[in-house]
Subunit: 200 residues, 2 copies
């Protein structure tokens, strides 16, 4: 990938802090999408945004944390978990959407690299959990708890474990790609859990 | 971590290729365990083993591939999946052992870093799947297929998907540590899948 972001036009005097911040995030997101984590450095973002490295280091504790913030700034992520009243329908729709996101969009390249970088970047790891995984986990757990109220899921089930067996199973194929992420996979994940794989 | 491997004694003439290879792998494994991927370079391994960088680059296509080979050389991994005749017992034992390995041993630091590095190192990713994840996946699938023969698992279940919902769920908590890996988690994973979480 050779395409990169254009430097922000300079020499027009001092910008307000909020504007600098927005332009830095925009530059960071575009650089990440264009070059991946392999070509992502705080120095390049500073140059593209016409900001100082010192400022960037002050605002973001690591290059991974800046990359993640830039990613959200450019791509955006809606936190939505529609509730049709049927947990099987809703979980299948959510997992299919996640599979689509990771298989068919740029997120499928960037998210694994960010998780990879997070293994040796504690600030990125914390930011990823705080801004991305934890709120999504909470939404899924709430949906499962509502399903318990409706009698669709057993009350003694730990909803957190279910999240790992649905989304975690997808991350597994994303990060260790022994097998592909498919729609059939998404459906089998939900069916296996709701029905059980044991002989009745 | 500051402790590092001792350089192999040098100046004793030309070693046979097999011996050089063994000593390089030993040095690579010790360096990885002492310093993690953050301090791991082909240059350091070459210096520690008294071998040439050119030789190392010839034998291993990337620093990640060398790190993984060194890890197996030092730590070793037995491929075992005991069969008691009861799939619930056997899966629980395997998952508990995996949780123990990742929570209580050095593998829990090294394996996430190797998977992280694999996201931007195609040779490491291929080596990880070939040498580690694929053979382990195959053993688990074989156990599930035997359980189908015994009537403990439904014949229409895709055993590959089950692997993602057990081991993949553990990797999820390992790589995105929103929640800890515990024995209770291991047991819930197996129970959720075998019994199902839906109201009967």
């Amino acid at each position: 990938m050779t395409q990169s972001a254009e430097p922000v036009r300079r020499g027009r005097g001092r910008r307000p802090t909020d504007q600098v911040r927005r332009e830095v995030l925009q530059a960071a997101g575009e650089l990440l999408l264009a070059e991946g984590m392999g070509g992502f450095t705080i120095e390049k973002v500073a140059a593209l945004a016409g900001a100082s490295r010192v400022t960037l280091h002050k605002w973001w504790p690591s290059k991974g944390a800046l990359a993640l913030a830039g990613y959200f700034s450019v791509v955006g992520h809606t936190l939505a978990f529609p509730d049709t009243g049927d947990i099987a329908t809703d979980l299948t729709a959510q997992i299919r959407a996640f599979v689509h996101l990771m298989r068919d969009t740029r997120a499928g390249h960037v998210i694994p690299e960010l998780i990879g970088q997070a293994q040796t970047d504690a600030e990125l790891s914390a930011a990823y959990r705080e801004r991305y995984s934890a709120p999504r986990r909470a939404l899924a757990v709430e949906a499962l708890e509502r399903a318990k109220q409706r009698g669709q899921v057993r009350a003694d089930v730990d909803s957190e474990v279910v999240v790992d067996q649905l989304w975690g199973a997808c991350y597994h194929r994303l990060l260790i790609p022994d097998l592909p992420l498919t729609d059939e996979f998404a459906e089998a994940l939900v069916a296996n859990l709701l029905t059980g794989i044991g002989r009745p």
